[in-house]
């Protein structure tokens, strides 16, 4: 605590404005992930002529859409120093509920979508309730929910695939053209969700409480934050984003598929969050980073396919990628402590 009488030579306000801005940009937490994205894109554009094709890039965005929305919920959970292993299977269940209701039970499309999303919210509340109420580790709770949702997906669907969905359910898969490239409404919707998540996390008291609870739960509790409520709200909202991801998945595949979303999407969402610079130790990270991380994952999958790498090797590469990202997180955490 330097007294006011001792002026600091490195006083921030003595720097010229533009230099200060440049410094802030260079040290922003999203710079690392962004550079990684550019390098990945440079690599694949060098390896494949088709990679930078606008048609291909818009395909990448469509592939990013589902994982990108899942990763918003995952970011919230990881910011509280938790983890949600169930995100992919919860989405799969939501997708089956909404398509089965619409196709088999003849429910109005919006009702079917709403009930599918509510199913995901209910599982989010279950996760959050067990984590806060009985203080179980998030890892175990969500591993349990992963299996429950997996089983329910197959039981509810009877292992059938639901097709010929009402057109209302496919709205977000529709495309429009902008500057020669094709975009789906779902991609725009995803970007809107990111904007909302950014606002909630950085511009509201709730967002600060999410960071505080993940960073130092005891300090947060002592300053009067109701930490249990904050964590419960996070898992509930995460369930909501998985439900929305289910809706987007349905609009893209035009199917309710009991085998969708259970393998790649689950790990991809966590990989996106960690690649985006959010710490698994909680309290550090941004949704903008997650969006970049989700794009890196999408670029990897797309690029590896373009250069002819077999799917099984793609698993190998993304597995190594997530371990690499987690290692970087661990090392920076240690240097901070």
């Amino acid at each position: 605590m330097a007294t006011t009488a001792t002026p600091d030579p490195e006083h921030a306000s003595s720097r010229p404005g533009s230099l200060k801005l440049a410094l802030r940009v260079a040290t922003a937490p999203t710079v690392g992930p962004f550079v990684a994205l550019l390098l990945t894109m440079a690599f694949f554009s060098f390896k494949s002529d088709r990679f930078l094709d606008p048609q291909n890039l818009s395909l990448v965005l469509q592939q990013v859409m589902v994982v990108g929305v899942l990763a918003i919920g995952q970011t919230l959970v990881i910011l509280t120093a938790g983890i949600d292993l169930s995100c992919g299977t919860v989405m799969a269940l939501g997708q089956i509920v909404m398509t089965k209701l619409a196709v088999e039970s003849g429910a109005p499309p919006l009702v079917a979508l709403g009930l599918g999303i509510l199913t995901c919210v209910a599982l989010g509340i279950l996760n959050g309730g067990l984590v806060t109420g009985i203080r179980l580790p998030a890892f175990i709770v969500t591993l349990g929910t992963l299996n429950i949702a997996f089983a329910l997906t197959h039981i509810v669907s009877d292992d059938l695939t639901f097709s010929e969905l009402p057109s209302e359910m496919l709205f977000f898969g529709r495309t429009f053209h902008l500057a020669g490239a094709e975009f789906t409404y779902g991609v725009v919707f995803m970007l809107g969700l990111y904007a909302i998540a950014w606002y909630a996390l950085t511009q509201t008291a709730w967002g600060r409480h999410v960071y505080a609870v993940g960073d130092d739960p005891e300090a947060a509790r002592l300053t009067g934050i109701r930490t249990g409520r904050v964590v419960l709200s996070v898992y509930t909202l995460a369930g909501l984003t998985y439900g929305i991801a289910a809706m987007l998945l349905v609009s893209r595949t035009e199917l309710g598929d009991p085998n969708a979303g259970q393998t790649t999407e689950n790990l991809d969402a966590i990989t996106a969050v960690v690649l985006g610079g959010t710490s698994l130790f909680g309290g550090r990270g941004t949704v903008i980073g997650t969006l970049i991380g989700a794009t890196i994952v999408g670029v990897f999958r797309n690029g590896l396919t373009l250069i002819g790498v077999e799917v099984i090797y793609q698993y190998l590469v993304t597995g190594m990628l997530v371990i690499l990202a987690v290692s970087v997180d661990q090392l920076t955490h240690r240097s901070r402590a």
Binding site: M1, Q203, T204, R208, T223
Partner: protein
């Protein structure tokens, strides 16, 4: 003794943990505008007493009065709502958040009008301004209110914790070992800070192991032993060895011996 009535008073506090009696009928008075130190050996009940006064735990027996009114604190939130702020030994600041966010954590200010009501938009500039004002009043020097707390020195972090308490306390500030983790220079700055909090008109309860600091700062010193208040002394009426002797329960002859060996020094 001050002629004014005490601002915070406790009578006959008892707290048991199983077979262990942490407080055994402890009394306590804090008068307006004073720095009151609480000293005692480990297990004497001083931290249990402080936790009862700050709402962190509930006494089994006895009563607490704030400004003459009987109070029951069920949580630190209750005590805080009544105007009692506590600076905890482990600081309780959130390292990743910046200074202004820590000062206002859990008590954030929102924009006026629809942006604040509907969109719940934070009024960051106002919080920053107000935090800057409090830091200036308390003469705590930091570069900027947007610095993350983890980038501050231990003394500056303690400054943030004290500033938060001083910002929100309306009646009492409690400080639990505020200098325990600090170096010599930083300790000095925190001690000055404790005085400035009192100069703002807030009485301070100071828990400390450090006798020289206690004797330098305190107006009165409560000595705890075996869950009870055994004496209230002042730096004018008693010397440090006398206080330590009372604290450790030394016999009368040991006390006299301590006094004679210490005399030449004075």
């Amino acid at each position: 003794m001050s002629p004014e009535p005490p601002i915070l008073e406790a009578r006959g506090l008892v707290k048991r943990f199983g077979h262990v009696v942490a407080l055994n009928g402890a009394d306590f008075e804090l008068y307006p505008g004073e720095i009151l130190a609480v000293i005692g050996d480990n297990g004497a009940g001083k931290s249990t007493l402080i936790k009862a006064l700050s709402g962190a735990l509930q006494p089994d027996e006895g009563e607490i009065e704030l400004d003459g009114d009987r109070v029951h604190f069920r949580s630190p939130r209750d005590a805080r709502r009544a105007g009692i702020e506590t600076v905890y030994q482990d600081l309780a600041v959130v390292p990743g958040l910046d200074i202004a966010s820590n000062i206002f954590l859990g008590r954030e200010r929102r924009r006026r009008g629809p942006l604040g009501l509907g969109l719940r938009l934070l009024d960051k500039p106002a919080m920053r301004r107000e935090a800057t004002r409090h830091f200036a009043e308390l003469q705590i020097g930091v570069q900027s209110m947007t610095q993350a707390v983890e980038n501050l020195s231990g003394g500056q972090r303690q400054g943030v914790a004290v500033a938060r308490a001083a910002t929100w306390a309306r009646r009492v500030v409690i400080m639990d070992e505020p200098t325990a983790a600090l170096g010599v220079k930083e300790t000095r700055q925190v001690l000055d800070l404790v005085r400035r909090v009192r100069e703002r008109g807030l009485p301070v309860i100071l828990i400390s192991h450090d006798m020289p600091h206690v004797f330098e700062l305190a107006d009165r010193i409560v000595i705890m032993r075996l869950g009870k208040r055994v004496a209230v002394v002042t730096p004018q009426t008693h010397t440090m060895p006398e206080a330590v002797a009372i604290m450790t329960g030394a016999t009368q002859s040991e006390l006299e011996q301590a006094l004679t060996t210490e005399k030449p020094k004075e």
